[in-house]
Amino acid sequence: MNSLQGMCGALLVAALSGCATSQDAAQQLQNAQASFEGIRDNTEVLRSAPKDVIRSGETLVRAERFSSYLGSSEDVMHYAYLSQRYSDIAKQKSLLTANNERAAKLELERQRLQLTLREAKLLTLQEQNGLLGEQMVNLVTTDTERGLVITIGDVLFDAGHADLKASANRTVLKLVQFLQLHPLRVVRIEGYTDSSGDTQQNIELSQARAQTVADALVDLGIDSKRISVQGLGESFPVAENASAKGRAQNRRVEVVFSDEQGRMGAAR
């Protein structure tokens, strides 16, 4: 009984101090009213989060009742806080719905563009077939201790740049086809350069070229989660850097495949 009295005494103190902050409560109530008014007639918000709008209104009514009759500032602030939160949650849910609907539309647009691009690439490929020999395509598959590796040679890039030439279409399409036939396999795309030039710039160029190949695969419908990218610069040369021919061989992008179950060997 004694402890109960003591507790009520403590509450009295709290209630008294509550009276002192009634201005804060009025302010918070006003903010909550403004927020509720902002969403009450918004059909989008009502559609996405009807329950939260209703709760916001209900808690606001309670806050108003406490403030106009005999309630403490503590109660007013509490229900104004809840009302404010419900309003904010309703607004966020409505934004989320709008974003998701927009994303669904963009997703369709992306798929449409992917198909168009693939058709366009196949078309140019058929036109080029008579003109370009296999040596231009420069597709090498090797079965080393790193697993299956496909090398995309320097000739498929614009010199000194990261952009792929149209002649890379065949390689890229083959890669896409392979990845679609083996949906569990993942790839690591590694860029390399020769030893001429600045080391840091070489790493950046090799990274950018590897990223370009990754982007090309994603553009044709491969899930970006299956692709990792690494720029290794002038490390791990496959030929000596003394001759122009050797340097050209070192400038390359290698696509390393995981095994059939998606297990990838260690990165270099």
Partner: protein
């Protein structure tokens, strides 16, 4: 004068509160659930409102231990909505990242298609 009157009325209410506020067991469970839900979706305490939710739930538990059930209920009610706000904020953030990514991919596809023609 009016202020004094309302304060004594508040005291009466507060005393009534002492007698009648039950232990908010269900509300505490609900709050814990909404925090767990926000985290399950991927929200972290980097989001201010989730940090607030956890702090308030902790204070609510302490209030229960001290038999201050009204304070416990209020804290837990606020924490529940703090957590739900955190979840909504996080999901909106994710959806915006997704939109950016889609727009980027679409722009890249358009550039490539122009280059093909």
């Amino acid at each position: 004068m009016i202020n004094k009157l309302s304060c004594s009325a508040v005291l009466l209410l507060a005393m009534a509160g002492c007698a009648s506020d039950p232990q908010p067991t269900e509300q505490l469970q609900l709050t814990a659930q909404s925090i767990a839900q926000a985290k399950a979706v991927g929200a972290t305490t980097d989001i201010e409102s989730l940090k607030q939710a956890e702090a308030k739930l902790q204070r609510a538990d302490q209030a229960v231990a001290q038999q201050q059930f009204k304070e416990a209920r209020m804290l837990a009610e606020q924490a529940e909505l703090d957590a739900r706000e955190a979840e909504a904020d996080y999901l909106v953030g994710q959806s915006e990242v997704r939109l950016q990514e889609l727009n980027k991919q679409i722009n890249r596809l358009r550039t490539q298609l122009r280059a093909q023609q």
